[in-house]
């Protein structure tokens, strides 16, 4: 468009030129009209118009005007007029002169115009050059002198043009070439010229660096000129230098940072989407799972055990772009794929990093705190223990101080180092008086060697048994002490002191002596009683029975002797005497048994009650005298008892059941056992005469009978024997009965043996009532 416009503009100017040429040619004809006839001179009138046309329109309109003027002169001004022919050959000379003059004028104007344009272009160029920041100067290659020096060069180098022109630029600017001036010039001769950086020294400001273009051109006069255009790039170079330095520093920093991250003991990893994939990890992080490459894998793949815990956290950090810190968080993981699942403690943080493209990456940094956590735990425990032991020490110290016992600490040499209130009270020495003194001050002179021997043993780490010794108090009185001497050891087990705990047993010793005395007396007495009892038993069994036997013997002989001559009454008397004799003998036997049951040593065994009952049943068959007895024996357990004594119990109870049910045509005797708590309760039930519960307390007494001798034979000792035997086994005896309906006798036996092996005098139940004879 612009070019078209320009073309149009120049076209218009050309049109104007040509129009002017036509008009001027016409004007020249008009101006010649008054000059008639035509002569050579009239031709001269054409010349100014040609000049005007050439001046205004340039060479071509000028030539056009010239041509038109020639034609006009041929047609209008030469004979014959108004025809193209020329009569006078002189006219040809005039026309030719006009033509030549016009052409010369045109070319002259053309030349002048060109010079004017060139000058204007040069001026514009100079202005233009001056307006650029580049320095432009030209020097002659042969004379080595500067021929052109623009303002840019002045600005750049500091030299005004009048100082620079005519100088050799290499010297003026002390230029340093990358190779040599010649090499540059050689390149400059090429069509593209030379281009490169040069270092100049300015007039006032020292060295500068320029980007220079050098070309060699042949000028119009044929001399070779070097055109050099230089641009100051010092600032750029400086900036480039700074930039390079910055880049180097940045690189160094990056390397440092990378090295720090890589070698940091803190585990650092960078996660990116999707699925929190490991983008990079440092060596510490990698060491968490040695030999297992993490980069490129996701958190869930690398830490399958911890994923349920950490993935939600990571999502929150990613989505909310918040920083997350955790302290001593337990993370379940394995130290190796085959290893056991364990809980490790980590301090860690997740930091979201937003990249310019909008992706969020997460920087993970973690420190394993398991060791510290455990150590802290240990520390806490030991602190608590320490506290406890301190408390213990304090309370022990308080106990020691308040103890009634004398508690004395000494060095291994026997020098007293601690002394409690008890010691003060017992020995009479106040603490401040006795500390630092040897412990031998407490020892009576007749045993001054004792403590030394004990200390020797303690120092040799030998055990010193508890012992009793006499000690001397402050005021000389003696006390009997029970002493425990033990070494005091330091942490490494070295004996560093001795502790002596003493109890004043003077009174106890006196009491003991008294007790011993009393015991001896009692023992003597008991021995006497025992001997008395034995001789009594012996007398009863031997001396008391002998007369009975004699009575019985001689009664039998008497009956043989006079039996036939006795009447009814005589035989009745004799029979009564014999019956009484038998009863007397039975009484003696039972009494002996009773006394023996309390005296004999018991011999515990597992007894099958079932078998024993059967034996006793067989044994008692004779007592049934042909009556009908229905026995009901439930399954019976094995019990722990003395078989001989237990048999005696059963003989008495079963015997009683048989005896007291003889009023029944069909006696029913039940035997059974119940388990009550930790006892066996055995019962023997009959459907005999029973008894009145009001007299129950008399049942188990010696010589106690609830029935007359007429009704039932008996000595009244059997149940007393039962009670004594059962009591000796640790059991109880009782009975239930209804008159006329039968009785049930119970006894219990502990499941675990509870037998008393003691002799008479340990009867735990009610005392045996006074024997009543009747």
């Amino acid at each position: 468009m612009i070019s078209r416009l320009r073309r149009w503009k120049s076209g218009r100017r050309q049109l104007a030129g040509y129009t002017a040429a036509l008009l001027l040619a016409a004007a020249a004809q008009v101006a010649r009209l008054p000059l008639n006839p035509p002569t050579l001179i009239p031709f001269i009138t054409f010349v100014p118009f040609i000049v005007l046309s050439a001046a205004f329109g340039g060479i071509r309109p000028g030539l056009l005007t010239t041509a038109l003027c020639v034609l006009e002169s041929l047609y209008f001004a030469t004979e014959p007029l108004y025809s193209w022919g020329v009569r006078d050959p002189q006219d040809w000379l005039g026309v030719g002169t006009l033509l030549c003059t016009g052409v010369v004028i045109c070319f002259l104007f053309e030349r002048v115009e060109k010079g004017r344009l060139a000058d204007a272009a040069a001026r514009e160029l100079r202005v233009l050059l001056n307006q650029t920041s580049d320095a432009v100067f030209v020097w002659d290659l042969e004379s080595k002198r500067i021929t052109f020096w623009d303002e840019g060069a002045t600005r750049l180098c500091g030299y005004p043009s009048h100082e620079a022109l005519g100088r050799y630029p290499k010297e003026l600017l002390q230029t340093q070439f990358p190779e040599s001036l010649e090499a540059c010039l050689a390149a400059a001769r090429q069509s593209d010229g030379w281009r490169g950086e040069l270092a100049h020294t300015t007039r006032d400001h020292g060295p500068i660096t320029v980007e220079s273009r050098m070309s060699v051109r042949q000028s119009d006069d044929g001399t070779l000129r070097v055109i050099e255009v230089a641009r100051d790039i010092s600032e750029r170079k400086r900036l480039e230098h700074i930039q390079a330095q910055l880049a180097r520093e940045q690189e160094l920093r990056r390397q440092t940072l990378e090295s720090i991250v890589h070698n940091s003991p803190i585990c650092i990893a960078l996660l990116r989407d999707p699925d929190f994939t490991f983008e990079s990890v440092n060596s510490a992080y990698q060491a968490l799972l040695p030999g297992d490459l993490m980069v490129g894998r996701t958190v869930a793949e690398v830490w399958p055990d911890a994923a349920p815990l950490v993935l939600p956290l990571l999502q929150v950090v990613r989505d909310a772009q918040t920083v997350y810190h955790a302290t001593e968080m337990p993370i379940p993981r394995k130290r190796s794929p085959e290893g056991p699942l364990e809980e490790l403690y980590f301090d860690f943080s997740y930091v979201p990093l937003l990249s310019p493209s909008g992706d969020v990456r997460i920087l993970v940094s973690a420190i394993e705190m398991t060791r510290y956590k455990l150590a802290a735990e240990e520390l806490r425990k030991s602190l608590i223990e320490l506290q406890q032991s301190e408390e213990q020490v304090r309370s022990l110290a308080a106990i020691v101080e308040s103890s009634d016992d004398a508690i004395i600490g000494t060095t291994t040499e026997g020098i007293i180092t601690s002394w409690n209130c008890g010691a003060e009270r017992i020995y009479g020495y106040p603490k401040e008086e006795v500390l630092g003194l040897p412990v031998t001050i407490l020892v009576p002179p007749d045993n001054s060697d004792g403590p030394r021997r004990i200390l020797d043993r303690i120092r040799r780490n030998e055990r010193v048994e508890h012992f009793e010794a006499t000690r001397r108090c402050k005021h000389g009185q003696r006390v009997v002490m029970s002493l425990a001497i033990s070494p005091v050891k330091d942490g490494s087990g070295r004996v560093v002191g001795v502790s002596a705990i003493g109890r004043d047993i003077t009174e106890r010793k006196l009491a003991e002596a008294k007790i011993l005395e009393l015991n001896e007396a009692l023992r003597t007495k008991a021995r006497c009683s025992e001997e008395d009892l034995e001789s009594f038993s012996y007398s009863v069994s031997h001396d008391l029975r002998a007369p009975i036997r004699h009575i019985a013997g001689f009664l039998a002989l008497l009956e043989d002797h006079i039996g036939g001559s006795l009447d009814e009454t005589g035989r009745h008397y004799l029979s009564n005497v014999m019956e009484s004799t038998r009863l007397m003998s039975a009484l003696i036997d039972d009494l002996l048994t009773f006394s023996r049951t309390g005296k004999v040593e018991m011999c515990e065994a597992n007894v099958c009650l079932q078998d024993l009952v059967q034996q006793v049943q067989r044994e008692l068959t004779a007592d049934i005298h042909g009556r009908k007895v229905v026995w009901t024996v439930e399954p019976l357990p094995e019990v722990a008892a003395d078989p001989v004594l237990l048999r005696l119990v059963l003989v008495n109870l079963l015997g009683n059941a048989i005896k007291y049910s003889n009023n029944r045509s069909e006696a029913a005797i039940d035997i059974g056992c119940r388990e009550v708590d930790d006892e066996w309760v055995i019962f023997v039930r009959d459907n005999g005469v029973g008894f009145d519960m009001r007299y129950m307390h008399k049942l188990f007494g010696v010589f106690q009978r609830l029935h007359s001798a007429d009704e039932f034979e008996g000595t009244g000792i059997g149940l007393a024997i039962v009670r004594r035997i059962v009591a000796r086994h640790g059991g109880r005896t009782w009975a239930e009965g209804v008159v006329g309906q039968g009785a049930t006798f119970y006894f219990s036996l502990p499941k675990v043996a509870g037998m008393q092996t003691c002799a008479i005098g340990t009867e735990p139940t009610e005392p045996i009532p006074e024997a009543t004879r009747g």
Binding site: S541, H542, R545, A546, I548, R549, H550, A552, A556, S585
Partner: protein, 154 residues
């Protein structure tokens, strides 16, 4: 029955009533052996060792010795112990007559080697029976062991 061939029965019993009853019982069963009665253990030993009042006795060791436990001077247990510890006498059958089971236990407890024991029954007939059985058994039925030696003093 030839009385000379029958050896004596030695009865050591201090109670005259028991002696009488025992003799009656033996007599009732027509035991023909001569019964030597001594009243204490010392005399019994004198008889066995042929010393003191029995220093000049002739004949063999007795067919059986019926020995009461409780006797003055030397009691029955001591006699038993001495007899059973003497090789010349220990083959003599010794029967202990006891008044009670208590004594019976005692004798057993000593383990002195009595050949039999009898608790003197209260019922006379039983007593007679017991003594008779003993007498007949030891005096008549049982072949005495060959004599080791006779006489001499300890």
């Amino acid at each position: 029955m030839d009385r000379d061939k029958l050896r004596d029965i030695l009865l050591a019993e201090d109670d005259p009533k028991d002696v009488e009853l025992t003799l009656t019982a033996l007599h009732k069963h027509r035991i023909a052996n001569r019964v030597i009665v001594v009243r204490d253990g010392a005399s019994a030993l004198d008889y066995l060792y042929r010393r003191g009042e029995f220093g000049n006795r002739d004949g063999d060791n007795p067919a059986v010795v019926l020995l009461d436990v409780k006797m003055p001077k030397v009691d029955g247990m001591e006699v038993l112990r001495r007899v059973k510890s003497d090789p010349r006498l220990k083959t003599i059958p010794m029967v202990i007559l006891t008044s009670s089971r208590e004594e019976h236990d005692l004798v057993e407890g000593y383990g002195l080697g009595a050949n039999a024991y009898v608790v003197k029954p209260v019922r006379f007939n039983e007593f007679v029976e017991a003594v008779s059985v003993l007498g007949i058994f030891w005096a008549l039925v049982n072949e005495p062991p060959p004599l080791v030696g006779t006489g001499g003093h300890d």
